[in-house]
């Protein structure tokens, strides 16, 4: 690896060190603030019915940000597929890991619990840490485990047959409608589609459950699409 010129190294180091030093000296950070987040802590559970205050924030108070984040995610998945689907890609099948009884057995044993864990994280996102994003990613990487065991193309074919790729943006549309329709009807609160219920039980938290479920499915599909695109069209130097 050739080195950058000396002047670049010196200038860069000087600038970066000054930047970090300036930040550290002036941030004026002295530990946690006492009343940090007090408004959310006091009212969060009462307002939204969800025990997990972080879920309450990003799926209720600040749902708009989460909407943008979902759009970013969708754009990323679509972009990856758009660019890589047209590459020549490896002509031969994705190379399989040599047939190994250990891997197949392990995958057989592990995949159901992983999927279950993902579903649990999604469904209980309003009661304990987790939520749609975490649960969806767990389930998506469970699929990756399947791909390692069975071969990526086998999994992709099954996936395609279930028409899951198109399902993804339909879910996006559903989420958008969930957000949009209350606004159209003139009511700003857009998170009350389900009852608030008793704090701490599964049936609580308003529509946070719906959102978590939809996001979970979406992230699950999206993660697999991205992983498979990279595996299939991995290109060469």
């Amino acid at each position: 690896m050739r080195r950058s010129s000396l002047y670049m190294i010196i200038t860069a180091s000087v600038l970066v060190i000054c930047f970090c030093a300036l930040l550290m000296m002036i941030f004026d950070y002295h530990g946690a603030r006492e009343e940090a987040g007090a408004a959310y802590i006091e009212r969060g559970a009462i307002d939204t019915g969800a025990a997990n205050l972080v879920s309450a924030i990003y799926l209720n108070y600040r749902l708009f940000d989460t909407l943008f984040e979902l759009l970013v995610f969708s754009v990323a998945v679509l972009g990856v597929r758009f660019y890589l689907a047209e590459q020549r890609g490896s002509e031969e099948e994705v190379a399989r890991i040599p047939e190994s009884q250990v891997i197949r057995t392990a995958a057989d044993l592990l995949f159901p619990p992983i999927l279950l864990l993902g579903i649990y994280l999604v469904l209980f996102g309003h009661l304990s840490p987790g939520g749609g994003f975490g649960g969806g990613t767990v389930a998506g990487t469970g699929l990756l485990l399947c791909a390692v065991a069975l071969g990526a193309d086998v999994v992709a074919r099954r996936f395609h047959e279930a028409a899951l790729e198109r399902f993804e943006w339909e879910i996006l549309l559903a989420i958008l409608l969930l957000v949009l329709i209350p606004v159209l009807l003139g009511r700003l609160p857009f998170t009350d589609l389900l009852p608030r219920g008793r704090l701490g039980s599964l049936a609580s938290g308003g529509s946070i459950l719906i959102y978590n479920a939809l996001i979970g499915i979406k992230v699950f599909i999206g993660t697999w699409v991205v992983i498979y695109s990279f595996v299939r069209h991995r290109g060469e130097i």
Binding site: M8, F19, L22, D28, D47, Y61, E69, V75, W169, L188
Partner: protein, 512 residues
């Protein structure tokens, strides 16, 4: 409520465009009509004079996300409508995949959100979406130079927004809120403390990367000149303005006048200097965007009502003529087969007449010939300026603008030529007409009292003098081609320049 509806509708249309791939063009037309209706309702709602504020979800400001529409944002939505309509017309006959239209809808939706945004983190997320969408649009045709330009853009923008997020962290830690209005209130007591200056410098640096300020937006010439003409028109005319709009919103919470004035002056001057000595048409237009952003930033830095009104007029005006110029340049380069200005001049017989007329109108606008769009904006800006230094800078930028566009003159001889298709002509008219008949538009944007300030004899004379002076300058300079440093546009050097720029802003904040 309309305020929230505008972006959401576009996101809905984005998803729909993917679903019904066959009617994407009709869908986007429909969405623009819808927008026009909503904007009309919005302006009716604003006529009482107070800004319309909603907090999404019905919570209070400190807890939910706030969107607010004021007169400034109304002016911007008019620009979005016009530019959107023109781009749709321009692209009517092109074969584009539904994916492209989805990206367009997302772009429009994010722009609408930024026009109304008042929440620091909401701005971050929207800017990231806008970055990704622009990045994908620039690289749509997959040519290598486009891919490299957009990759540079993504890396630099992502770095910039990371710096922005650090600033948000500092602000949140000390004030406990992300809402700009509340931050302004809580900071009122503490202006001048080191962390306020540091945080504001970080925020400004981050946004400046996306705003087209010269030191920070070194990705711009490559990215805007490599993209397809419609995309360049949207990026230069609309997307880059959103960065400046965010800077304007930030000024309500932090005192940023000195940094903005200096940055505006630097951008304006450096942009025209590079533009004068660039002979590739699209690249020159991109450098021009940088320098006109300098104008707008100066207006915002001045901070007075007249300055802000001038900036708004110039944002709309520049969006119109830069959009028109890019679209016309696209047609010209396509038909002549050549991107260099001398080459275009040699082959001008191949360029459609409408494109050449459009280039002429756009050039007249950007030069500031009265009573077109550019003149109104520039005269209002100069009317709002007290200090002679800034006046001189404004005049210098005008001279440079004229000088850099003077090399297009041989293109404007209206001879016979092929004609372009009717949607393209429609696009030119949609943008060109408001440029020429800018005064009625200006009356919508700016209160009448301020408008009349700009319509005296003195500004007329000044602008004509500027035009004349610019021609002389061009004559002088055209004899000696000058090679300006191009190294700063490389990736690594650009990052170093951004870091130095941050220190510059911090220093200016401390001094100011």
């Amino acid at each position: 409520m309309m305020v929230a509806l505008l972006p959401l509708v576009h996101f809905g249309f984005a998803a729909l465009s993917l679903a019904w791939g066959r009617v994407t063009r009709e869908l986007i037309l429909l969405s623009l009509v819808f927008d026009a209706v909503l904007v009309g309702l919005l302006s009716a709602g604003l006529s009482q004079g107070k800004p319309l504020v909603i907090v999404l979800g019905g919570w209070e400001k400190g807890i939910g996300i706030e969107l607010a529409a004021d007169r400034f944002s109304l002016g911007l939505t008019i620009l979005v409508l016009l530019l959107g309509g023109a781009v749709v017309a321009y692209l009517w006959h092109e074969r584009l995949r539904p994916y492209f239209f989805m990206l367009l809808h997302l772009l429009l939706g994010s722009v609408y959100t930024l026009v109304f945004a008042r929440d620091l983190f909401n701005i971050y997320v929207t800017l990231e979406l806008l970055t990704l969408v622009s990045f994908l649009l620039v690289g749509y045709e997959r040519k290598p130079y486009q891919i490299w330009a957009s990759l540079k853009y993504l890396l630099l923008a992502s770095l910039g927004l990371g710096i922005y997020l650090l600033g948000v962290a500092i602000i949140y830690y000390h004030t406990g809120t992300l809402n700009l209005g509340l931050v302004a209130a809580r900071l009122a007591a503490e202006q001048g403390t080191p962390w306020v200056l540091l945080a504001s410098s970080l925020l400004v640096t981050g946004v400046a990367v996306k705003s087209g300020i010269f030191i920070f937006s070194l990705w711009l010439p490559a990215a805007h000149s490599s993209a397809t003409p419609a995309v360049s028109a949207l990026l230069s005319g609309l997307v880059i303005k959103m960065g400046v709009v965010v800077l304007f919103r930030l000024t309500s919470a932090f005192s940023l006048s000195l940094p903005l004035l200096v940055l505006g002056a630097l951008t304006g001057l450096l942009g025209v200097i590079y533009a004068i000595f660039t002979y590739d048409l699209k690249r020159m237009l991109a450098f021009h965007t940088l320098s006109q952003i300098g104008y707008i930033t100066l207006g915002i830095g001045i901070g007075s009502e007249i300055g802000i009104a001038g900036s708004l007029e110039y944002i709309v005006g520049h969006g119109l003529f830069k959009g028109l110029l890019f679209l016309a340049a696209g047609v010209a380069v396509q038909t002549a087969g050549e991107g260099d200005i001398p080459g275009l001049i040699a082959r001008r017989a191949k360029i459609p007449v409408s494109a050449r007329v459009a280039l002429l109108v756009g050039t007249l606008g950007i030069i500031g010939v009265p009573p077109l769009a550019g003149f109104c904006g520039k005269s209002l800006l100069s009317a709002g300026v007290q200090s002679p230094v800034i006046q001189t800078v404004l005049i210098l930028i005008s001279l440079g603008t004229v000088a850099s566009f003077a090399k297009l003159i041989p293109l404007f001889r209206i001879e016979r030529g092929p004609s372009s298709t009717w949607p393209v002509k429609l696009a030119f008219v949609i943008l060109g007409l408001p440029i020429v008949l800018f005064l009625p538009l200006a009356r919508l944007l700016v209160p009448a009292a301020q408008l009349s300030l700009s319509l005296h004899v003195l500004p007329f004379v000044k602008s004509l003098l500027a035009v004349g002076g610019g021609f002389l300058l061009y004559r002088l300079l055209s004899r000696r081609p000058f090679h300006l440093p191009q190294r700063i546009f490389r990736l690594e050097e650009a990052i170093l320049v951004i870091l130095s720029g941050f220190f510059l802003i911090y220093l200016l904040s401390v001094l100011g």
